[in-house]
């Protein structure tokens, strides 16, 4: 009798533990979840506005101010010069496109594979895609110098009879990045419509927010037809946006790989860049989630240790894949024995910026492998934040090594010259500040948690007894 009672207590403890651990097993009434998400948007401390104000000043001075200065004084105020014509501008372009990959990966690939842990943070990741691409666009426009002539890139006849040469991978960039920016913005917006309708229903009449939500919710009510159209569209998007995502960073890699330069002319650059993009993107998602969970009201309910654990495992897997591609690329180039490539590889490791090469390997491989294997460690938001931050430094270094450092060494030694950045350092800091500023602004206006997707997941999850053990089961509702 006593044994049965003890077993029952253990069982109850086990169920309570499962509910505490898994958001999908810990449902709250929908009205309460809506209320929590709305409160998380509205309850803002003065510290938020202080940070917002500081970032606004940084953006005004470092991004728009410095850009205006560069436009007024010419591209000469930047450090790009022979032989490193591509400097931090393109490092940042590649970096931000990389960050943007996380949104699609988490939202589309995990949706296709029905990974349930994705549900509460798909939107947080999708926002990174759109805002990351905005910074990538800014960076490439800065690189152009005479930005007012950027329409020459477009395939429209202009007064000089110029036409984009589609043989150039830079023209492919324009097509790929435009396609990706438009697609990811639409993919962000579609699942947002029901949450905007929820915000509309919970916002008092006569406020500007009511008008904002009313306009953006488009008149959504949640009829059978509306859900059907939305579900079909989201399925199409989830599948179709994956090859678009792969194409973007592959095409970006071809900017380098299609040239017959030492260190660049590699057939493996496409997947190597894609994996690198996922590496920095996943790290950035971990950083955003750690901040959102700790700083926004009620977010501890929606974002739990299980989410950091899953994200940490993905980061570890991506880190291993990145290491494999790095080794593969390095091995073939080194073993090839080309004189100039040997010079370049030596310059990477033993040149004046050799520390960057070692830091890249430590941040991208050694630290993730040393920490993320441990479930307890990777479930810790701030540890994951730290690892994500270091991975992003590591991945930025990787792009810096591939672009300006690799451009230093070529087949004409008389042109060798170290790249020294100028105004682009401030512009780079400006893009980081602008990204955070956009994100902070969005977190006050857009429900960061897709409440209907969370509820849908909670409806699909249940507990079932197999023999003596209670286990989690998932029903196929979609």
């Amino acid at each position: 009798m006593a044994s049965t009672a003890t077993h029952h207590d253990h069982e109850q403890d086990h169920i309570a533990h499962l509910r505490e651990k898994h958001l999908m097993l810990d449902p709250l009434p929908r009205g309460r979840m809506n209320e929590m998400v709305m409160e998380s948007m509205h309850d803002t401390s003065w510290k938020f506005w202080v940070v917002f104000g500081i970032l606004s000043v940084i953006v005004a001075v470092f991004l728009f101010g410095a850009w205006g200065y560069m436009i007024a004084n010419g591209l000469g105020v930047a450090g790009v010069n022979r032989p490193s014509y591509w400097g931090i501008f393109l490092v940042n372009t590649v970096f931000w496109i990389g960050i943007s990959h996380a949104g699609t990966f988490i939202s589309a690939i995990l949706r296709v594979f029905k990974a349930e842990f994705r549900r509460p943070f798909t939107r947080a990741a999708e926002l990174m895609t759109t805002f990351g691409l905005v910074q990538a666009g800014f960076s490439i426009f800065m690189h152009m110098g005479r930005v007012w002539l950027s329409y020459w890139l477009m395939p429209i006849p202009n007064q000089r009879g110029l036409w984009p040469n589609f043989h150039s991978p830079l023209s492919w960039d324009l097509l790929a990045i435009t396609t990706y920016l438009l697609s990811s913005t639409m993919y962000l917006f579609l699942p947002l419509i029901p949450d905007l309708a929820m915000a509309r229903d919970r916002t008092p009449d006569g406020t500007w927010q009511k008008t904002f939500y009313r306009v953006l919710a488009l008149g959504f009510r949640g009829t059978e037809g509306e859900w059907t159209h939305l579900r079909h569209a989201m399925n199409i998007f989830a599948f179709a946006i994956i090859p678009v995502m792969f194409s973007v960073h592959t095409i970006v890699s071809w900017d380098c790989a299609a040239a017959t330069r030492p260190g660049w002319n590699s057939t493996i650059f496409g997947p190597y860049f894609v994996v690198g993009a996922l590496h920095s993107g996943m790290g950035a998602v971990a950083m955003v989630l750690a901040v959102v969970q700790s700083r926004m009201k009620h977010m501890k309910y929606f974002i739990r240790g299980e989410h950091f654990d899953a994200l940490g495992m993905l980061m570890l897997l991506v880190s291993m894949t990145w290491a494999y591609f790095f080794f593969n690329d390095y091995m073939v180039q080194w073993y090839g024995g080309d004189k100039w490539t040997q010079q370049l590889l030596h310059f990477h490791e033993a040149g004046p910026l050799g520390w960057m090469w070692f830091a890249m390997l430590i941040f991208n491989v050694a630290i993730p492998w040393a920490t993320l294997w441990n479930k307890k460690w990777r479930s810790n938001p701030w540890l994951l934040f730290g690892v994500g931050l270091l991975i992003n430094f590591g991945m930025w270094f990787e792009r810096y090594i591939i672009i300006p450092i690799s451009l230093t060494i070529n087949r004409m030694p008389f042109t060798w010259r170290m790249y020294t950045p100028g105004v682009e350092i401030y512009l780079g800091i400006g893009t980081v500040a602008f990204f955070i500023l956009l994100y902070m602004g969005a977190s006050r206006l857009i429900p960061l948690i897709p409440v209907w997707e969370v509820q849908e997941g909670q409806m699909a999850h249940s507990l079932k007894k197999y023999g003596r053990e209670t286990v989690v089961t998932i029903s196929e509702l979609e």
Partner: protein
């Protein structure tokens, strides 16, 4: 000859199960499927509600958009270089890899853009006219909206209430 006037009613249920039961009951009371609609804050499939399959044009529009995108891509890749030839060394005016990239990107853009617009077309978005709705829906309630003859409304209201409807009221279009 008597003229039957129809009335639109909105029955709000706390859960999916009673809403699905209400649909069955409405059918037995003579309300045809095309006179009903379920409004919910979470997606529920037709099978869960026991409703006929919903028609959507989104996949067809997506295919049409992909085709249009591909045609634009082919035009950009083949026609425009011929109209504005740029001779670079001994490179051909039109070559394979750029054609693949341009056609792929334009096809995908066409596919995704038309999928997005397909939702707008099929759902009649944006629509800011007053509509039959209750804000509790986004808080997780299920509303069954239906039309029935005026003389049956009392009988049907009683049936809905018996099945657990929190309220059954004449549906009035209201601004969202």
């Amino acid at each position: 000859m008597t003229v039957t006037t129809n009335i639109s009613l909105l029955a709000v249920f706390p859960d999916l199960e009673p809403a699905a039961d209400a649909i069955d009951r409405l059918r037995t009371l003579g309300v045809p499927d095309d006179q009903m609609n379920v409004i919910s804050g979470t997606p529920v499939t037709e099978a869960m509600l026991g409703r006929p399959r919903q028609w959507t044009n989104v996949p067809r529009l997506a295919l049409g958009g992909a085709l249009a995108g591909m045609i634009i891509g082919l035009f950009l890749a083949f026609a425009t270089p011929s109209l504005y030839p740029i001779q670079v060394g001994r490179q051909g005016i039109i070559s394979g890899p750029p054609t693949v990239v341009v056609v792929f990107e334009m096809t995908m853009l066409g596919l995704l853009l038309s999928t997005f617009l397909g939702v707008f077309l099929d759902s009649y978005f944006p629509s800011y006219r007053p509509m039959h709705y209750v804000p509790e829906i986004s808080d997780g309630k299920f509303a069954v909206f239906f039309s029935c003859p005026q003389e049956d409304s009392e009988k049907i209201t009683k049936a809905m209430t018996a099945l657990g409807a929190e309220k059954v009221e004449a549906a009035e279009a209201q601004p969202l």
